[in-house]
């Protein structure tokens, strides 16, 4: 395994940036209209629990990545099959982020640039980052991720003159079910997607901090979501939020006098690139461990090419993308994000209760 080490702060920033990633473009909480903040609260709380589950799995299986844990707990054959499915899932996730990102850029900023070109340029940069290794990505996050909240605050200050602070009323207008649906969507996108971090957790230099770091980052991401939701709803009102394709983008173009749209794009590029880099690293490294080769960098080009092709292939148009993100992605993700991790946690706990066995494995 690669001997790269990242600090607690870097991991915190990576998880926050990852959670923030494409949620900026496609925020599932808007499905609940005015009650989106309730959905964010519920989704955030359950999401934090889910992250704690992932952290516990990593703690119970010290310095092992997801692929190794799967093999240990499910046996070689089943473990390898599930590992292949996970690698597929990570590649799929990376291409979906590519596509979201590309579609957004296309609709708002680069209307005449072909989608493929935007994604390809993005993919080349991501390939370089993945080949540089986890340490470099961690240090990159230290420089870039702090910009995300700063930019969010700058945009909010810019539009402080246009507001309606009671716009989130009435509470529970359409009953509880849209909130439950939205919070479930929010749980699977983005919180559940942090299952990829099971490939990153072994790199943390101070293992005892893992739980604290993951909980803190989930909570701060929830806080940021809430902040942005309240900003958007006070400025736009619930009708427009429901109608607009890219909500925070709409907020950022409302600032009178200057055009802060590029700032918003910067925000998006930071979150999106961290998300893609992590997913692709997880996929490539997983593939590497699955085959038993010694260096994950051998597969980066191949996997990046595949991600690029898949991202073009995956949807025909933007409606399919939105429909998929809202209606199919959550159900498709349940086994990867909830069922298998819970089984892993359960199996790991059983093994832990039997220390003699644990020793023999080590």
């Amino acid at each position: 395994m690669e001997k790269a080490r990242i600090s607690s702060l870097q991991l915190f920033l990576l998880i926050t940036g990852f959670l923030f990633g494409s949620t900026l473009i496609l925020n599932p909480a808007t499905g609940a209209k005015n009650d989106g903040w309730l959905a964010i609260l519920i989704g955030g709380a359950v999401g934090t629990l889910l992250l704690a589950v992932y952290a516990s799995i990593a703690l119970l299986n010290p310095s092992k990545t997801l692929v190794e844990i799967l093999r240990d707990r499910f046996g070689k054959v089943i473990g390898n099959i599930i590992a292949i499915l996970y690698i597929w899932y990570f590649i799929h996730l990376a291409s979906l982020v590519f596509r979201n990102f590309g579609s957004f850029m296309l609709t708002t900023t680069y209307p005449k640039t072909p989608l493929e070109v935007i994604i390809a340029v993005f993919a080349l940069v991501v390939m370089y980052a993945v080949n540089s290794g986890v340490e470099v990505v961690g240090r990159m996050s230290e420089i870039l991720v702090p910009f995300v909240p700063v930019i969010a605050v700058i945009i909010s200050l810019g539009i402080i003159t246009v507001h309606d602070f009671t716009a989130f009323l009435p509470v529970l207008e359409n009953g509880i079910s849209p909130i439950i649906k939205a919070s479930f969507n929010l749980l699977t996108f983005p919180f559940g997607e942090t299952v990829v971090f099971l490939m990153i957790f072994p790199h943390l230099n101070k293992r005892e901090n893992l739980k604290k770091v993951s909980t803190l980052s989930a909570l701060s991401a929830t806080g940021l979501f809430l902040f942005i939701f309240f900003r958007d709803i006070t400025v736009l009102g619930s009708h427009l939020i429901y109608q607009a394709t890219f909500v925070p983008h709409l907020t950022s173009v409302l600032i009178p006098g200057i055009n802060l749209e590029p700032l918003f794009n910067v925000n998006l590029i930071i979150g999106g690139s961290i998300k893609v880099v992590i997913c692709m690293y997880a996929a490539v490294n997983g593939l590497n461990q699955l085959i038993g080769a010694n260096d994950y960098r051998k597969f980066t080009t191949a996997v990046a090419t595949f991600c690029f092709v898949l991202s073009i292939w995956v949807y025909e148009n933007i409606f399919e993308m939105f429909d998929w993100a809202e209606n199919i992605w959550p159900y498709y993700s349940i086994p990867f994000q909830i069922v298998i991790p819970l089984m892993l946690l359960f199996l790991s706990l059983i093994k832990k209760g039997n220390p003699a066995h644990e020793k023999s494995i080590e």
């Binding site: 680069y110 005449k112 640039t113 009323l169 009435p170 009708h239 109608q243 709409l250």
Partner: protein
């Protein structure tokens, strides 16, 4: 090897110089104003006002030289089409360059177009990435948008800038409802509040006037408010920044500049049904002109003036409310928002016929006026007899 690497690094910035479809400024037509109207047969007429940067330059230097035949700084073209985008694309057959819409300053809607509903225009403008959300929107009264855009003002070379300037000026004295595109997007499908848009009329070939506003119901133009009714509306909806109110006093008149005003809407409920609309306005003003004889030094006098001032403002609000309730049956104030927010269950039942409910409700209007300062002199200039 090092030189080779350096050469590659130095070549990379060449790739960073522009977008995919770099278009030079000389290759686009900068649109400063757009007008949308409907023809008799239901087709859409789109009018654009395009700036010629070169002509602008020569006209400013040309004036110094005493100028011979100058090219016009702007040109105005209209075209008919099935939809707005169709008209804009078809217009390419008569203009020479690509139309660049992000620079639109003013959007003028025709009366006939508004009567059929403005949702059509908003769909295109909201979908199109070039739209500038803070564009000012106006409705042309008794005149087509094309005629408005064809004026040639002496004050500004570009008519669009001139129109925008008048909106800004008039909005400061609260005689026109200033509506930006984003507000229309927000409210057009909102059942809680009906849309109002500022009104523009043509005075002569050189001047336009932006005063008053157009009242919409469910996206369709239903009527107009004059400048005083508009001000009453703005007072009630907390949009007055400053204005001059003239009040009658004994043996004379007085102008008071309102420097601070806040309006609050509420709907009182009784037994789960709305019983009364209430409007509460608090305002502060200074005396800026006084044509009369009494001195103003006693607090009692000022108190009387405050009474008169609040009566005047109240009169305007009552007039507007009556018009909105009786003539147009359109909740332009946004009382529906209050009902929706604080009585969601009742709102659900009444959502679709809220305008009718609104029209039936009695109203309670309270205006509190305070006069703070009287300027540099204490007694009036007029002599005591």
């Amino acid at each position: 090897m090092k030189i080779k690497k350096l050469a590659i690094v130095l070549m990379l910035p060449i790739l960073l110089t522009g977008c995919w479809d770099n278009v030079d400024l000389a290759d686009i037509n900068i649109v400063t104003a757009m007008g949308i109207d409907k023809a008799e047969d239901g087709k859409v007429i789109v009018t654009v006002q395009v700036v010629e940067p070169a002509a602008l330059q020569s006209s400013s230097s040309g004036q110094a030289r005493g100028g011979s035949a100058q090219p016009k700084p702007v040109f105005v073209e209209s075209y008919e089409g099935e939809t707005i985008s169709d008209a804009l694309i078809s217009m390419k057959s008569i203009v020479d360059k690509r139309l660049f819409l992000s620079t639109i300053q003013v959007l003028i809607l025709g009366e006939r177009f508004c009567k059929d509903g403005i949702n059509e225009a908003l769909d295109f403008l909201h979908r199109d990435y070039q739209s500038e959300y803070l564009t000012d929107v106006l409705v042309a009264k008794d005149v087509t948008p094309e005629q408005i855009l064809k004026i040639q003002s002496d004050m500004e070379a570009i008519p669009a800038m001139y129109i925008k300037g008048t909106i800004e000026n008039t909005a400061i004295r609260a005689k026109v409802k200033r509506t930006t595109l984003i507000e229309l997007f927000k409210d057009i499908k909102n059942k809680c509040r009906q849309v109002t848009i500022g009104q523009i009329t043509k005075v002569n070939e050189k001047t336009v006037k932006t005063e008053g506003s157009a009242v919409f119901k469910d996206g369709k133009l239903v009527g107009w408010l004059d400048q005083y009714q508009t001000r009453g509306y703005l007072f009630a909806t907390d949009k007055v920044k400053s204005t001059i109110v003239n009040i009658p006093v004994t043996n004379g008149k007085m102008s008071i500049e309102v420097s601070n005003s806040s309006g609050k809407l509420d709907v009182e409920f009784k037994n789960g049904e709305p019983a009364k609309l209430s409007i509460q306005v608090n305002l502060e003003g200074n005396i800026v002109e006084y044509i009369g004889k009494e001195t103003l030094d006693s607090p009692g006098n000022i108190y009387k003036l405050e009474k008169i001032l609040s009566q005047e403002v109240k009169k305007e609000i009552v007039m507007t409310l009556n018009k909105a309730q009786k003539d147009y049956s359109s909740d332009i104030f946004g009382f529906g928002t209050v009902v929706h927010k604080y009585h969601p269950h009742y709102w659900e039942k009444v959502m679709d016929e809220w305008n009718d409910v609104f029209s039936r409700l009695p109203a309670d209007i309270k205006v509190e006026a305070k006069i703070r300062r009287a300027g540099l002199i204490k007694s009036p200039m007029m002599k005591d007899e």
